[in-house]
Symmetry: C3
């Protein structure tokens, strides 16, 4: 898959600073904006029905996250994704806690019908999206990426999209090619909304590398894995980890990413 | 009251990682989630009428904070608290700035009728809830906990609940037994939404220690007092204080808490 | 203009700790509250139509930011600004991304009709507000303050208000007197919502220095410029910059501000 060294996809992000329209949850808004700015993308958050289509059309990528969704936000998500599709703008779905309630399942059904370019979730969310019985009780995952790998591949095939599943090890698949990414740090699940922010960063990478969405998604996850490792090596706890992660994403060079990313192709599962 | 050393209640929180449903204000969402994760609970924020009851029923505890409330959120609060009561799930009320407007007073009247397990507020809020003339002009308190102690006890008796009142010294009372907690740091009021996050942490402690809500509430406040002292000893200002507080809550052991908490029983006021 | 040393305006802020009612965007709420608390003002966020007028009337200043506006929030903004005008409470308009959509332009037209005391924006926003063709594609500015200086002065004259335009160099003008403020750090645009928080801080300074709004606005911007320089000198990236900025604003003395602010009067442009 990797047509270019992974660092080249980061280089493209920084060169183009893609405008990423984020319709995300209240918890994640600030951290998402800061993670995008630190890495090199340009975030914008807005959702009013009066303007959402107009703004999506100006954007290079769209990230939709259902964390704290309510009816007006769901409507904005459907309008924005329709606009993204009309203008061939890549968009990422983050199906937060989709297994937890009927409302989330129904909304995700509507959003899947809008053909996301990438789905980014944890193993419980991917299992739930694929119609399997989810063990997730909320925003946390109780399954591993290995346990959900088959579901991820099946979902990617069925949707014709990329699935990025994050956990102790990350998986990326388009249904045909599968990659595993190692790295990160045990403190990452102790900081809220890192996964939500990563979904928006995936939108940034895919927007900046339109011809290579699978490699771009992998590069976004590898950024987090490498920067997360670096942040973990200096952090005393989740407070200093957050600070160090933003600094590490900002300081991460394309060469660092190419040299330190641990990505392996998975032939059979 | 303290049937067990205070650290045991923290141990129980970490052992069970209770899922805490937070219906809180926009300012506090991210900091609340991070403080719960750092300490050892599992936060979830959602409020849509379509799913709120379904989700509260899955939770171990509920925290309701009226900071940036509007009509749809007030409706979610009433649905969630009714669900909590149906399922015997403990819930905490944080009556932010209740003295400031008629709308807040009316909403708090409705929420008090839903029988919170614990009320966590500052002295001005406790005075206002108890029907006394409040001096508070907003989210800050202009009264001390000592000045509001009688109101806290009266409110606890009248409601049959626990009142946790935080200030330079904290008070916890169930109307019969009263405890004072010392610690913390003068920088704490210079960081926004620490009180809001503490309310959610109280929900976590009470959820993890169902048989001992008074001791669990005291332990939650003692965690903040001890970790706040530690954070204050290394902070240069409110920015580094926030970071150090998250790290300190993460690093705090049950033994640290038992050894360093300064809790005294108050016999008469 | 500067009737007093700039530090005196900071001293007045800290002496009076003005209550600043912030109707701002979801991304900026937490950072705005923390920046106000660190510097010495008292923030409060609420927006429900049921209480917004009652609360604005209690406040010393109001800050209105359209970042994530939707219909109920726009209504709250119009009610709050009307109340501010009835009670002669100063208010600040932050026209986030006004050039991006028709909805924002129409809302800003309504808000300009409510006579803001100060408008704080980036050059693209000031150009858009002044009816010129904006180059801005979102929340970022693609014009410099120098390119937009004429528009800022024209807008100030037409509105009879102060315009504070921030960028690599900041400009403050009331249409007759113009000041340029140097300082800050290249990391500032890599941290989200610093401009939004600055708008609220301007409301704080103007509220605490009612007779000198032009000097107070200049002092608020100078605080950010001086503290930003200090934070930049110790930061490793945008994560540590945020932390250091809050600490620097907290530690900044009136004497520091007077001594280190680099403000020059601009005679002709």
């Amino acid at each position: 898959m990797t047509l270019l060294p992974l660092g080249d996809y980061l280089e493209a992000l920084r060169h183009t600073t893609p405008l990423i329209h984020c319709i995300t949850n209240y918890v994640a808004m600030n951290s998402t904006a800061n993670l995008l700015l630190a890495t090199g993308a340009s975030p914008a958050m807005l959702h009013a029905q009066e303007e959402v289509a107009e703004f999506t059309a100006l954007s290079s990528g769209l990230s939709v996250n259902i964390g704290t969704v309510s009816a007006p936000w769901a409507e904005a998500m459907l309008t924005a994704t329709a606009t993204a599709n009309q203008h061939a703008i890549p968009w990422v779905l983050d199906p937060v806690a989709v297994g937890a309630t009927t409302y989330r399942q129904q909304l995700c059904g509507q959003l899947l019908a809008m053909s996301p370019t990438v789905i980014r979730g944890n193993p419980s969310e991917i299992l739930a999206l694929n119609g399997l019985k989810s063990q997730g009780r909320g925003v946390d995952s109780t399954s591993t990426t290995e346990q959900a790998a088959e579901a991820a591949i099946a979902l990617a095939k069925q949707q014709g999209c990329i699935v990025a599943m994050t956990g102790e090890r990350d998986w990326v698949t388009d249904g045909r090619q599968h990659y595993q990414i190692e790295g990160g740090h045990p403190l990452m699940p102790r900081v809220t909304t890192l996964g939500c922010a990563l979904s928006a960063l995936v939108a940034g990478f895919v927007a900046a590398n339109r011809d290579h969405p699978l490699a771009a998604t992998t590069a976004a996850l590898a950024c987090f894995a490498v920067a997360g490792e670096q942040a973990g090596s200096v952090a005393q706890g989740p407070g200093s980890f957050q600070v160090a992660l933003l600094d590490a994403l900002y300081q991460l060079t394309a060469d660092d990413l190419s040299a330190n990313a641990r990505v392996v192709a998975i032939d059979a599962i």
